[in-house]
Amino acid sequence: MLMMTSSKFEVLLLDDEPIVGKRLRPAILKLGCGVEVFESPAKAIKRINEKEFDVVVTDIRMDEIDGIEVLEYVTKKSSRTKVIMITGYAMMELARQAMEKGAFDFIAKPFKPEDLRVVIVKAAEALGVKLTLSHEPQ
């Protein structure tokens, strides 16, 4: 595992569905990076303020603050952070909007854990980090 940054490669996952975080956390951990999972956009933004993440994965549609706002906030805060949007099936318009606003990529629900990992690996490559799937749980 090649580490370009001094610290660990950090991923923030934001989705208001608890199961998403619960299931994706071990899946992303297998990439050998750090994962922080949030259900509430407000808490996630608070955390983003405190810490610079390499990748932010956020759902677009959430009750209080939607994913686009999170995207805008993140790009303003740190231009190097890659944002991956999780969109619903019928929201291609929103996805395009997100891409225009600087999202790295989007992934449509329903997706497999592997799909997200592929996108995260791509994002890491864009940042110059090579992530490989380790089969050992951390």
Binding site: E17, I19, V20, K22, R23, L24, P26, A27, R61, D63, G88, Y89, A90, M91, K109, P110, F111, K112, P113, E114, P137
Partner: protein
Amino acid sequence: MFNNCLDKWYKCALQRLKRVLDAAVERQAIRDASDDGDSSLRKPDRVLRFTIKAHVYIGFVFAFLIAFSIGIALVITLLMMDRNLEVVEISNKYVYHILEARSYEKDFLLNGVGLKDAIKNIRALKDLFLEHYGEIKKIVGSNDLLSKTDKYGKLLETLEDLQAVTVSSAELSARREKIKDELQALGGEMVIVAKELMRKERDSLDKSMLLFRVVHIYAAVFLILFITFILHLLGFRVLRTLNRFTVYMSQISSSRHSKFQSSSFYRDEFSDLSGVLEQLVKEYDRQQTIISQSHKLRAVGTLTAGVAHELNNPINNITLTAHMLLEDYLELSDDERLDMIKDLIDEAGRARLIVRNLLDFARESESIMEPIGIGDVLEETLKISGSQVKLAGVNIELKIAPNLPRIHGDRHQLQQVFLNLLLNALDVSTKGGHLKIEVAMADEDNFVAVKVTDFGQGIPDHILHHIFDPFFTTKTKGKGTGLGLSVSQGIIAKHGGHITVSTKQQRGTTFTVKLPITTIPADFSHSQVLLNNQ
């Protein structure tokens, strides 16, 4: 031979009877199939047909017959009077001739002249008698008068003969005296009989004149009464049926299902008309159902986008969980596996619930009127439209007053109404805005009110008049059918309620649905309330 023939004939008759019965049964079956379920209400097909036309004709024929017979009666009495007059004439003549003859006879007896004139008069009398023998005989009743006249004539002639004999003798004069006596007696009798005859005739004339007048008056009175009766009968029949039609029509216009009650005794033009109307109403109802259903499906279409989106979450959860289970199966502890499986089941249940709500709503169900809680209906409606509401990012404030009486209605239809109102309200709400739904007793007695309030732009005056018109829409093509409010209004009217709207420019719009509450017994009170409202 004879027995054989009889047997054949009997068998043939039996076969024919069977055919007739089969045909009747088949007709009955077809009729039963054609009218859906309301055969119990249907009168037997073999109702006497008595049309208004026939009624008018029969009335006319009767009036004509009666007028005709009155005419005949009048002519008869007139003829009777005529004849009486004639007879009076005859008896007058008769009396005149007798009195003449008598006066000549007196002249002759006193002065010895005028016997010829007397004889002439008697002859004329006899001629008259013979001429009108029938009439006179009928009145007098016997030949008495004729024989008396005859005898009188003969006496006069004898007297003339004696007069011709110039030789006078005691015997002769004695005979003459005797004749004279007889003449006088006979003459007296004849005068009495003649006068009697005249008197009788006068009486009979008076009688027939009286009869004539009476017949006249009675006939006129009867005819007037009869015509009045016939007109009354006809008018009563027509007006009563028209009244029934008015009631029927007002019931239809208030969108209530009712059946036209035409007379059960006979069929006429009105029955035909009511049949056609019933057909029309049935067809109208069918169309209404189709429109309502198609609009409902349209609403389902609108909901589907939201539902599809909403479904993504449980499906996504299932996908993630299943894949992780597959991936880490061996590394996971039993508890973790069980947790994942439980998640799978829960999420599948969540997806099923979303779909079932939508399907429940979309299903074409026949109208079931039952006592229902209006609050429940609204909660269900919100559940159906939950994903749409979430998608629109609108916050809904639902206030249901406690202890509301139940209403009598169709759950699915009312859901459709409130869903329409809700989707409309969502359309005009901005993201992050809010809606208010209040359920409470209406200010009107025995009504509950549901108020759906949005805080949108309000409805401009020039559009306000049209919002309940079918196919009127302000939404872009493909987004609205323009049927929502029209269909909703139809449904609410069917429930005996009404929808009103109040709007303020830039402030928002409130749609108020008022529905009559139900009391026990539900059916009866419901129709009672409706009747009172008409």
